[in-house]
């Protein structure tokens, strides 16, 4: 059944990560730190599930998301750091930390004498994933396009200076959007560990953050347009091994495809006439320096 193939937990993980990224980048924060967070979040979810159970793990993942967002906000807003460098540094730190946390969970499983694969009775069928995806996409859209805060977020991403003139607090808005985005990304990470992989290996999840970033760009940072590219990408990623088995194409050549495809997607969107007309976050990656206002 094709719907079962398309709407499974990996798709939902990628969708949540991409939506979270859209929420962040709509405020003009270039979100390269997402990759480090996804790696960290998977390790936290895995180890916390083993140590404290699934519910506590969810709570910890969300808390980690909020803290991560606040840390980025501190650097990007108060310290006026370059968004790119902040993201790269955060990645470096939390790639490292994720392995330490993950091994702690593996050791704990051994001590407790429970299997290393997570035993979670619950599983998501395609009905519930379809419903949940629908709800999350719609909520993100309503939040960004039908609330005052959402409008403020988009204004900060389009032109922070004008937004400030109109009474929007750019620093506060960017922090808010970071927190909202990282909560959604944390939920995505939880879905990945609890319903898709159910296991942890060092550096698992590395690279998916950048794919989510590319997905967000290819949908022009629009929460409704994100669905189609996510369906295509998640199907592509999961079916790669089938091509390897059936046609004997090298797995290494196949694993290039998602990255090449995202470069092509991004280029196509940047050059297409729609890309030029839709209001995308033009100030993406711009450090907002408040005291220049008076000049």
């Amino acid at each position: 059944m094709i719907l079962e193939e398309l709407f499974e937990s990996f798709f939902f993980f990628l969708l949540l990560a991409a939506i979270g990224d859209i929420l962040v980048e709509r405020s003009g924060v270039l979100n390269l730190g997402i990759d480090g967070f996804i790696t960290l979040c998977l390790a936290i979810c895995y180890s916390a599930t083993i140590a404290y159970g699934p519910l506590a793990s969810l709570a910890l993942a969300v808390t980690a998301g909020v803290l991560y967002a606040i840390l980025i906000a501190l650097f990007v807003n108060l310290l006026h750091s370059s968004h790119v460098l902040t993201g790269l540094v955060m990645n470096m730190i939390f790639y490292g930390l994720s392995v330490i946390i993950g091994y702690w969970g593996l050791d704990l499983a051994m001590e407790k004498g429970i299997p290393r694969t997570l035993m979670i009775g619950l599983s998501l069928d395609w009905h519930s994933i379809l419903t949940l995806s629908f709800i999350s996409v719609l909520t993100a859209w309503l939040f960004l396009y039908r609330t005052r805060t959402g409008t403020a977020i988009r204004a900060c991403g389009y032109n922070p200076r004008s937004a400030d003139y109109l009474g929007v607090n750019v620093w506060r808005t960017r922090m808010l959007s970071l927190i909202a985005g990282y909560i959604v990304i944390a939920l995505g990470g939880y879905v990945y560990v609890s319903f898709y992989s159910r296991a942890w290996t060092p550096y698992i999840g590395m690279g998916y953050g950048f794919l989510a970033l590319a997905l967000a760009i290819s949908s022009l940072w629009h929460p409704l347009l994100i669905v189609l590219p996510t369906i295509i990408f998640s199907y592509l990623l999961r079916s790669l091994y089938i091509y390897q088995l059936e046609y004997g194409i090298s797995q290494h050549l196949l694993s290039m495809i998602p990255y090449i495809a995202s470069i092509v997607f991004i280029t196509a969107v940047a050059t297409s006439p729609i890309g030029k007309r839709l209001p995308i976050p033009k100030a993406l990656g711009e450090i907002y320096y408040k005291e220049e206002r008076a000049a």
Binding site: H80, L85, G96, A214, Y259, I266
Partner: protein, 350 residues
């Protein structure tokens, strides 16, 4: 209610350097703390090991990687072009050098072999960087994302070769090629793990990049392009050409390093993750630690190489590599704070 405001300032160069030295010292503290807490080694042993590392000539093997890549990236970053693809450019350089050394007759000729291998490695890295450069110059595609993606493509391409068509006949199923011919190898100085030639080449790039950036018209235009592209265009230099040139130079240096990694260190092509080993990403911060200044780059590269080399010395099992990653990240976070201190100050308005 008092309000906090952040205002710009220009710290005197001497003070600015002092702040960075402070970061470097604090970084060693961070390294000691994280190793002794996360790996459970007592702090005094760690301190001795770290101080020891700084005196070990073997760290030059990493210095030869970080210095040229950092110099090349500085050219791109002066123009505010986010080339984050040094990792991939290193890997592609390695692939090109292996091809020349192993699969063409040139590899068997002394001197000619290594020279052609290094030149083609450099060219391959430059071409690999050129693609995102062209996309940025002509279509205005965000170069930070495309260069990041190209890293993964380079990894996979290299892995395809070593797992597939290039896998050696004498390697017992390991994913690697056969050894390159002796004539192409760059030999180590007796007792150490680096070659004198590679070190000299790396050092030669310091004055070259410095003179290029500060004493030529094009270099000055590249530096100006970062703060004001419009002004550069008005002065009669094409912005498109500058973008392409900056990407070409940074890619060429990264590719050269990749080639050198094969001829000097690995002596065969290994999977991409092992060639790059994250050094391309660390080089980005090496470049910023030196404030993009070619004259300060050796200091910054030396410092980072010592900390990077630590993972070979500690040998505390599978956790060493992530712990090193962690504290190098923390040190760069301190660097971000130091950049803030030297550029801005916080005042409290009444």
């Amino acid at each position: 209610m008092p309000k906090i405001a952040v205002i710009r300032r220009d710290l005197r160069p001497a003070l600015s350097i002092a702040v960075r030295l402070g970061v470097a010292l604090a970084g060693i503290g961070v390294a000691i703390l994280s190793i002794s807490i996360l790996l459970g080694v007592d702090a005094w042993t760690v301190t001795k090991r770290i101080l020891n590392t700084f005196l070990k000539p073997d760290l030059i093997r990493y210095f030869i990687v970080f210095l040229p890549v950092g110099l090349g990236l500085a050219v791109a970053y002066h123009a505010r072009l986010w080339n984050l693809g040094a990792e991939g450019q290193i890997v592609i350089g390695a692939v090109a050098a292996t091809y020349i050394a192993l699969f063409t007759p040139l590899g068997g000729i002394p001197v000619v072999g290594p020279v052609t291998a290094l030149l083609s490695a450099s060219l391959a890295g430059a071409l690999w960087a050129l693609l995102p450069g062209l996309l940025r110059a002509y279509l205005n595609v965000n170069e930070a994302i495309t260069t990041l993606m190209m890293n993964y493509v380079a990894y996979s391409f290299c892995n395809y070769l070593v797992y597939g068509p290039w896998r050696g006949r004498k390697v017992y199923g390991y994913p690697e090629t056969d050894l390159i011919p002796d004539a192409s190898k760059l030999y180590w100085i007796q007792g150490y793990s680096f070659s004198l030639w590679s070190l000299l080449i790396a050092l030669a790039f310091i004055p070259v990049v410095y003179l290029f950036l500060y004493k030529t018209r094009i270099g000055t235009a590249i530096r100006g392009f970062g703060s004001s592209p419009a002004a550069v265009e008005i002065s009669g230099v094409s912005g498109t050409k500058l973008i392409i040139l900056a990407f070409f130079i940074s890619g060429a240096l990264a590719g050269l390093v990749g080639g050198n990694e094969i001829l000097m260190y690995h002596r065969k092509l290994v999977p991409g993750e092992k060639i790059g080993a994250g050094m391309g990403f660390v080089s980005i911060m090496v470049s910023w630690l030196a404030d993009l200044n070619p004259a300060l780059m050796p200091l910054s590269a030396y410092y980072v190489s010592a900390l990077h080399y630590l993972r070979m010395i500690m040998q505390m099992g599978e956790l060493t590599e992530p712990v090193v990653r962690f504290f190098i990240g923390m040190i760069f976070m301190l660097l971000l704070v130091s950049i803030f201190i030297s550029k801005y100050k916080v005042v409290i308005k009444k």
